[in-house]
Symmetry: C2
Subunit: 275 residues, 2 copies
């Protein structure tokens, strides 16, 4: 199911303009949202992040225009689902420079249904050769320049793992192909700081700001080495669709399961927020 | 003028599939070619580079399919022009993983006419805050993940310059927003090595392999500091459309014009190859 040009359709072959800069130059942004219980979970936070990215990229767009496709598709997903909302800078002339008058393009796709796993899925990580580049805005905003993530995931799968661990260029742990990383150590809940080339995840913020205090955990953003992942009581990953998954292996070495119960508690708290 | 689905059209609003991974994830590649004297200049080299990128990204495509839109558009550009050829991995399901059966998409756009400047244009460079990431395949192949280049150029223009100098994450000179960098020092013709996050430019290769020997210059690929640009007899830039431009300023400091004549000779040699 697609939303394009103000209407919902099942035909993906729309009148999309081949001169669109999102297609030609990855000049745009996106968000992925879960719809459950009749609403798009954390919609305001997703729109905030998208608008922050648009401001950084200087793409003129208002909240209402971004919200409309999500509202329309949410109403069409009675059993829940997943919405991907895409914003591009729109059509431009040949070359890298944006046009003087920008006309952003907005479209969205929905798939159904969505339901959470009974328990946190387990994933094996393999460290990617591709590193995150904190100097690039593409590391801080959810831009269409997502090819590194695609290739890092393929690399990890090719090595028999389930997902990639991406380090920043300096060697610190950053993220997975589509998620943030957390480490549990006693009452401490640690996650790489945004300076290390990390996307400010919506579920990441929820864990830091809402879930951790509720469970009596001490959240901290700080640089994490690969070694600190291997030494932790548990390593888990967050993203907006899988919510919380448990990393059980890194480059063939087992990660601790000692903190597994805490991982499940965090996940249960997030699910409770969805009700 | 556009080439899509086997036909040339003036309507950019085709039946392009909104689920295409080039649009959603920058999962694709492109080339920009100049058409002059009835042929696409350096066509084989452009196709070689595109096919090398497709192999690295594991996108199945053959040379003939890539060549056809260029041939068709070349025939429709009697006064010369510029062709941008785009290849994407095609449609995929939700998420980062490519589909088991890939159906790449190919399209192209043409603009006309094209004619060379009478002499090498002069550009002022400003060093970008965005750095090149040599660990990323997007630094070595001409992928659709081009947003860093777009933003670096806007940053440079905002600072009163004409183009951006991008350093690699380690601090070495890499390239401009859409071109390679060369330094002239006596008989030496130096350019950053590909390990420093540099795209293997078609014009870059032409200068190294054909033009330099013809002019008795000694081409060398090596790491270059920003200081070596400031000390050189001349700094020039290459790309497939502007061919050779002369960098006359870096971050407000004048660059030497002592080697200007050599810059013009190099440009003249390339223009002669186009005849």
């Amino acid at each position: 199911m697609l939303w394009f040009d103000g209407a919902i359709s099942d035909d993906p072959r729309t009148g999309f303009d081949l001169r669109d800069r999102g297609l030609l130059l990855a000049d745009g942004l996106f968000e992925t949202l879960v719809v459950t219980n009749g609403r798009a979970f954390m919609l305001d936070a997703h729109l905030d992040r998208l608008l922050a990215g648009a401001a950084a990229l200087n793409i003129p767009v208002d909240r209402k225009s971004l919200r409309r496709p999500v509202d329309d598709l949410t109403a069409a997903l009675p059993d829940g689902g997943i919405i991907r909302l895409t914003l591009t800078r729109g059509v431009g002339p040949r070359g890298l420079r944006p046009p003087a008058q920008q006309q952003p393009a907005i479209f969205a796709a929905a798939s159904a249904p969505w339901s959470p796993n009974p328990t946190a899925a387990e994933v094996r990580l393999a460290t990617s050769r591709i590193r995150r580049n904190p100097s690039s805005p593409t590391s801080r905003y959810k831009t269409l320049a997502y090819l590194d993530n695609v290739l890092a995931l393929e690399e990890a799968l090719g090595r028999g793992a389930d997902d990639a661990l991406l380090l920043a260029v300096g060697g610190r742990a950053a993220c997975t192909s589509a998620g943030n990383i957390f480490v549990i150590q006693g009452e401490n809940l640690l996650t790489p700081s945004l300076d290390d080339g990390v996307l400010p995840g919506i579920t990441r913020a929820l864990v830091l700001d809402v879930v951790a205090p509720e469970l009596g955990l001490m959240p901290q953003e700080m640089s994490l080495s690969k070694g600190s992942l291997l030494l932790a009581e548990a390593v888990f990953l967050t993203n907006s669709v899988a919510l919380v998954t448990h990393a059980t292996e890194l480059d063939g070495k087992p990660l601790s399961r000692y903190g597994r119960e805490t991982v499940e508690q965090i996940r249960t708290e997030i699910l409770a927020l969805m009700d």
